[in-house]
């Protein structure tokens, strides 16, 4: 597969790993005094475990798994609202497969489907649009989930629905943005991070400059990275080199896909259709200012919140729900404790019976630890 195989070449990986080890030694990183690098994106977390990179890199590098997994940071109350929408008799509720198993306070979308709700998994919001065209007597609601990478797809779909005059298509908007939670993490006095590997597909849309504050205001390096193993290793090396050289810059390892200023058409669609919410709740992180998006009034006809009166903008106010009892989702999410430090890990909370979303999504740190058996998970078990 072009642009994929070349970046999975084991031979090249060996030399990057050797270079990483060399720089790690130069800056004196050891197992007891490691360099903490946060990979913000769940896709990176997944790749690290899929290829076993955590076990291959120098001992002195510790990956902290960031909040970049949209279903992992989705509050349970939002899942409840999805189910409330899905259970309306006129609604066909469409969603990416990722959200199906995320537990709400009472059940997941998967269980709601078994209970009779008409819930369909789709690959693209375009497929939800097609369902709306084919089912004019039903209301098709699409669960708009994800960061800046995914946001343009629902914005374009809403614009397309408007052009076609579709009246039975709406989006339940839960889109969120990456920079605000990173700022929140950096403002946390408990946080010990030495650098970041940035989500390449988010920057494909927004470019590299929204991260400038990380280098300028917080003095931390960030390297925007691709998703193949060599991309990740090279990015780790670039972060380490910045640390060694005492630099804090925003660098772009993924230039084949990420333009410096992002994708203009996507940015235009986002700002035409969406506006920031004053605040949005993140599971494990709490309320973060201007970290979520809502559909602008001009497109209210395609806003499931406005159409059905369910959700953040609803008149009945916000449901605030406690996190699962005894679980440390929030601490894990912020990198303050490892999945294996959570009292529920592997006992009260497993992929079969997840308490928190981190155990549900295959990019959730807990599920990744559990299923791929990260090196540190094995150590903890010993």
């Amino acid at each position: 597969m072009r642009y994929v195989e070349e970046f999975r070449d084991p031979k090249a990986a060996k030399s990057v790993l050797a270079a990483i080890a060399q720089v790690a030694d130069e800056i004196g990183a050891t197992r007891d005094k490691p360099v903490h690098i946060m990979e913000i994106c769940g896709g990176h977390t997944h790749a690290i475990f899929r290829y076993g990179l955590d076990k291959l890199v120098h001992d002195g590098i510790e990956f902290i798994h960031g909040p970049g997994c949209p279903v992992c940071v989705l509050p349970r109350s939002r899942v409840d609202e999805c189910i409330e929408l899905a259970e309306l008799p006129e609604v066909i509720f469409t969603t990416f497969g990722d959200a199906m198993r995320v537990p709400g306070t009472k059940k997941s979308l998967m269980q709601a489907k078994a209970d009779g709700a008409d819930i369909r998994m789709v690959y693209s919001p375009l497929d939800a649009l097609e369902l709306a065209r084919r089912n004019p007597d039903r209301e098709v609601v699409f669960f708009g989930l994800g960061f800046e990478t995914t946001t343009p797809s629902t914005a374009f779909s809403i614009q397309q629905a408007a052009r076609e005059g579709l009246t039975n298509f709406s989006v339940f908007c839960n889109h969120i943005t990456v920079p605000p939670p990173i700022k929140a993490l950096l403002d946390d006095p408990h946080m010990v991070l030495d650098g970041f590997v940035g989500p390449g597909h988010v920057s494909m849309v927004i470019g590299v400059h929204p991260y400038d504050f990380i280098a300028q205001d917080y003095g931390k390096p960030l390297v925007v990275s691709g998703f193949e193993p060599l991309d990740l290793l090279q990015s780790v090396l670039m972060v380490l080199e910045q640390i060694r050289d005492g630099r804090a810059e925003i660098e772009n390892q993924y230039a084949r896909v990420v333009p410096e200023h992002g994708n203009p058409a996507s940015l235009a669609a986002i700002s035409e259709v969406y506006e920031p919410r004053p605040t949005f709740e993140w599971r494990g992180l709490g309320e973060i200012d201007e970290s979520g998006l809502r559909i602008r009034d001009a497109y209210a006809a395609f806003d499931a919140e406005a159409k059905f009166g369910i959700g953040y903008g609803a008149a009945k106010g916000r449901a605030v729900v406690e996190e699962p009892e005894g679980a440390a989702c929030g601490l894990v999410m912020t990198g303050r404790c490892k999945p294996t430090d959570c009292p529920k890990f592997g006992t009260g909370c497993t992929p079969e019976m997840p308490l928190g979303a981190l155990m549900v999504s295959s990019e959730g740190a807990c599920a990744a630890y559990y299923q791929y058996g990260g090196a540190r998970a094995t150590e903890a078990a010993e």
């Binding site: 597969m1 072009r2 642009y3 994929v4 070349e6 970046f7 070449d9 031979k11 090249a12 060996k14 030399s15 990057v16 050797a18 270079a19 994106c41 769940g42 896709g43 970049g68 997994c69 949209p70 990416f96 690959y123 693209s124 919001p125 375009l126 497929d127 994800g146 960061f147 990478t149 995914t150 343009p152 797809s153 374009f156 397309q160 989500p199 597909h201 988010v202 494909m204 849309v205 998703f227 060599l230 991309d231 090279q234 090396l237 390892q253 230039a255 084949r256 896909v257 990420v258 333009p259 994708n263 058409a265 996507s266 669609a269 990019e363």
Partner: protein, 96 residues
């Protein structure tokens, strides 16, 4: 977050809606070309794009891909040189 995969646009399927057929290792799917179309739509045929949830989100820059690979190859060569030097040192030690 955000699974994306390279694919090649093989034909334009719907001019009004900016749709084209993308090929990913022999698997084909209609994708929206709205985010990446700047000039005439037909110019997209043959291009490699990064696909996410049915949208072509970026045209892949071949030059940049080569640069990244060259940097990686450079590391490999540097490593080989280091290893050779290490072996040379060892040989010298043995001579002594």
């Amino acid at each position: 977050m955000c699974l994306g995969i390279p694919g090649q646009i093989i034909e334009i399927t719907d001019t009004d809606r900016y749709m084209g057929l993308a090929d990913v290792s022999g698997v084909r799917r209609e994708v929206s070309l709205l985010p990446v179309t700047e000039g005439p739509l037909d110019d997209m045929v043959g291009k490699w794009v990064l696909i996410h949830v049915g949208f072509a989100m970026a045209v892949i820059d071949e030059d940049e891909a080569q640069k990244t690979l060259e940097a990686l190859r450079g590391l490999g060569e540097a490593q080989e040189t280091l290893e050779q030097m290490a072996e040379g040192d060892k040989a010298l030690e043995e001579v002594r």
